[in-house]
């Protein structure tokens, strides 16, 4: 008998990580060669993983939802003999499970590359073919450097299983370890996870004395109260927890970092009295042409931005680093930042410069409707030239918006507030808004940014001034 470790291979030409989607087997299950162990999702596809060994699954190293680097162990097996039905054992590299368990992941896979960094100093070399390598069927003892669960798992649970013939409580290795550390028998804990999976929270609840009822939500409340009494933030079951960085959050983060550390941001602020715009909106809402159409300060701002761009086109250009060129974009694809359930997206209105106020209002309505219902088409998310973010909806006045990558500027509109304001030589309550403009200082000089912002402000402060601009 021996332990073999299946390490995550590079499943698609140069990938470095994959996410475990699901396991089709449980620890303790006997599997055949090529039996599907589970599914993993790479950046390219969701694929099934066939078992490289015939034997008993001793450890599932990663829980569904976790992201694993290529070369890291995902499943350990206890196999009879060499564990390789093809009669492998002649010392080829791919008596790999055992061989790789003895050293870092670097050699783990033919096409993958391990996660561990090489030791400092002279680069290590690959072993020569035929150089001494542990053969197949290495005793458990020699796999000592492998991750703890490998060594810990086989003896006890496997035996338990064999004797009782009963299914072991479903859980994950870290939770199992937690239970062991706390002296809790998992058989006594009721799992609330998928298909009765015992989660970390279940164990902690059990530990604090609160029994989680079998799926009864009502009974979870006392536990939460207990947690709060311990001084944790509302609803939290533990002092801190970790959320893997992936999906939308990961992409948003990458885009923000790319933008913030590629385009030197400069931000200008302008606070303007937009009472005339608000009066104009009131008139429009009463007009027949705009009946049934939602026109808001954002609509006017979008139009004002397009008009101001005519006079300050560089805020709509693109910096093409690869070709060392500035791309003059003689059209406006106006992005509107939208907070959705999935996260931040910036769909854009194509050729916004060619739309009149009514058409812009309709386009904005469609765009936000699609974003809200999660139906934004992929094409709407690419090709933007400049963006607007409406931070006023959150009751905020000003901030430094981060430019949508690839664009030259982003304009944030704050909340429209009634404020005491200088008006006709006296002080009056006026409707005031602050605009924040971030621009890419590589493309746009301070003067152009300032002029653009002033133009937008002028239009909002006195819409009639458009007559002097077009």
């Amino acid at each position: 008998m021996g332990i073999k470790v299946f390490k995550l291979p590079d499943l698609g030409e140069g990938l470095t990580e994959s996410e475990i989607v699901s396991w089709h087997v449980a620890e303790g299950d006997r599997v055949e060669l090529n039996q599907i162990l589970g599914e993993v999702e790479t950046a390219k596809a969701v694929v099934e993983l066939p078992s490289p060994f015939a034997g008993v699954v001793t450890v599932l190293h990663e829980a569904p939802g976790s992201t694993v680097n290529v070369g890291e162990p995902i499943v350990s097996f206890e196999v009879a003999g060499s564990g390789d039905p093809s009669g492998n054992g002649t010392g080829g590299r791919s008596s790999n499970g055992a061989a790789t368990a003895t050293e870092g992941g670097r050699e783990a896979n033919l096409v993958g590359y391990g996660a561990q960094a090489e030791a400092a100093g002279a680069p290590r070399r690959r072993r020569r073919a035929g150089a001494a390598e542990p053969g197949a069927g290495v005793p458990v003892a020699s796999t000592a450097p492998a991750p703890e669960p490998v060594a810990a798992a086989p003896a006890q649970p496997a035996g338990e299983l064999a004797e009782s013939g009963k299914e072991r409580p479903r859980s994950t290795p870290p939770v199992r370890k937690l239970a062991r550390d706390l002296g809790i028998d998992l058989a006594e804990v009721t799992g609330t996870g998928e298909q009765g999976l015992i989660t970390r929270a279940d164990v902690e609840r059990f530990h604090t004395g609160a029994t989680a009822g079998a799926g009864e939500r009502g009974k979870e409340q006392p536990a939460a109260t207990t947690a709060r009494a311990g001084g944790w933030l509302a609803g939290a079951a533990e002092r801190e927890s970790r959320i893997p960085i992936k999906g939308m959050r990961k992409h948003t983060a990458a885009a923000m970092v790319a933008s913030a550390f590629t385009a030197p941001h400069a931000t200008s602020f302008l606070t303007v009295d937009v009472t005339p715009t608000m009066e104009l909106l009131a008139k429009l809402r009463d007009s027949r042409a705009f009946s049934g159409i939602k026109v808001t300060p954002l609509t006017v701002l979008a139009k004002a931005l397009c008009i101001a761009l005519e006079r300050n086109p560089s805020l709509n250009w693109r910096w093409d680093e690869a070709n060392q060129e500035i791309v003059r974009q003689n059209y406006v694809n106006l992005g509107i930042a939208a907070a959705t359930e999935r996260g931040l997206i910036v769909p854009n209105i194509k050729d916004a410069h060619a739309l009149d106020l009514r058409q812009l209002a309709l386009a904005l309505g469609e765009l936000t409707g699609a974003a809200r219902s999660g139906k934004t088409a992929p094409a709407d998310l690419t090709g933007g030239t400049i963006s607007i973010t409406n931070i006023g909806v959150f009751g905020i006045d000003a901030g430094t918006p981060i430019i949508n990558p690839g664009e030259a500027a982003i304009l944030a509109m704050g909340a429209v507030r009634r404020q005491p304001w200088e008006y006709q030589g006296g002080i009056a309550l006026r409707q005031v808004v602050t605009l924040s403009l971030s621009f890419d200082h590589r493309l746009v000089d301070g003067q152009q940014g300032a002029t653009f912002l002033a133009d937008v402000g002028t239009i909002l402060a006195e819409p009639g001034m458009v007559l002097t601009m077009v």
């Binding site: 291979p9 596809a45 070399r125």
Partner: protein, 365 residues
């Protein structure tokens, strides 16, 4: 969408497994029960090889694998029509053809394991090593065929490529040369409907087979999931070439039921209903239906075939996982047939570079 059945499609075996008569029938009149069983075995084994190699990729034993699932009839039907002295120039997906040529299973996966720059000696099995450059092998085949003609031999060069390749300049150039010099070459296009994610309907506004007559090359459109029809049209084309009739073009209408390669996810660009439609035309199922109707699909026979498939799969796996690692200097072998000073200098530099690690005390680790 153009039809995958109908008048202009040569078919000798319906999806239900009924053998139909027709002018092409006489080309396979000699295929009796035993030969049918042989073709069935070939297809089952090749599918099993494909599955095993796909699993090996998922297990980290192969870097990549291009599955042929669904294209067994096109490859076995044509591959079994060839003579030993014919020469095959294929793309990377023709593992079924390679099987017919008698390739060693380990040689089949050598390249995909990243173990060697090419898998086998082309002259041992009269099949060039697979070409990854799309369509380039059609030029190689045409050149080989032109030389064959100069030699006065009656062997034929067969180029295998896909629907996507027909948009490449190489394929069109090859067809011009083949027609101009009446080279004994067969262009065997497996139209599997998808050039990675691009549907054939986008790049071919008419049937691909329609293009060949424009080059002066006779063409035929065949049901690529019908092993008998594929064999019949290939035999016809080979006979034309052997008797001085010049090149032929075959469009085998089939379907790539799996991904383009193991690094591809076809569900992102394909309608799942399409796959269901094609499952109803499965090349192996339809031959099984015929064998069943003729009382040839006995338990004995299927057991034997499955045992053979298991055996081949086990050999493939064993060969794969026990393949010795190449030596550090092997990369310099077989680059030129004769000594080459620049290469020698590179080998020398690399040898000394490697030796520097030994000197640094790192040893073999």
């Amino acid at each position: 969408m153009r039809s995958v059945s109908g008048e202009n499609l040569v078919q000798l075996l319906t999806p239900e497994g009924t053998r139909v008569a027709g002018p092409y029938g006489e080309w396979v009149a000699d295929i009796d029960g035993a030969r049918l069983q042989g073709l069935y075995e070939d297809m089952v084994v090749v599918r099993r090889v494909d599955q095993e190699a796909t699993a090996l990729q998922r297990q980290g034993e192969l870097a990549l694998w291009p599955p042929l699932l669904g294209q067994e009839a096109a490859q076995i039907g044509s591959g079994r029509a060839l003579r030993k002295d014919d020469f095959v120039f294929s793309s990377y997906r023709e593992n079924g053809v390679a099987y017919c040529r008698g390739v060693d299973y380990t040689d089949m996966i050598r390249v995909w394991r990243g173990n060697a720059p090419s898998g086998w000696d082309p002259y041992e099995i009269n099949m060039a090593t697979p070409q990854v450059i799309i369509g380039a092998q059609t030029l190689h085949a045409t050149g080989y065929a032109m030389a064959t003609k100069l030699d006065g031999a009656d062997s034929v060069a067969v180029a295998y490529f896909g629907d996507g390749a027909t948009s490449q300049g190489d394929v069109n150039e090859a067809m011009v040369f083949a027609a101009s010099f009446q080279a004994p070459v067969v262009f065997f296009c497996q139209n599997n409907q998808w050039a990675i994610s691009e549907p054939v309907t986008l790049q071919a506004q008419r049937d691909i087979a329609d293009r060949a007559p424009g080059f002066g090359i006779p063409s035929v459109r065949v049901d690529g999931n019908d092993v008998l029809a594929c064999m019949a049209v290939t035999r016809e084309a080979l006979e034309r070439a052997r008797s001085g009739g010049g090149p032929s073009f075959i469009e085998a209408v089939t379907y790539r039921m799996g991904p383009h390669t193991t690094a591809d996810d076809p569900t992102r660009y394909r309608d799942p209903n399409e796959l269901e439609d094609w499952k109803g035309r499965d090349p192996i199922d339809r031959l099984a239906n015929l064998l069943e109707a003729e009382g040839l699909l006995t338990a004995d026979f299927t057991d034997r075939v499955n045992a053979k498939a298991d055996e081949v799969a086990a050999q493939l796996r064993h060969g794969c996982v026990t393949l010795p690692e190449p030596g550090e200097l092997d990369v310099f072998n077989n680059v030129y047939t004769t000594p080459h000073s620049v290469l020698e200098r590179q080998r020398d530099h690399y040898t000394r570079y490697l030796a520097s690690f030994e000197a640094a005390g790192g040893g073999a680790r």
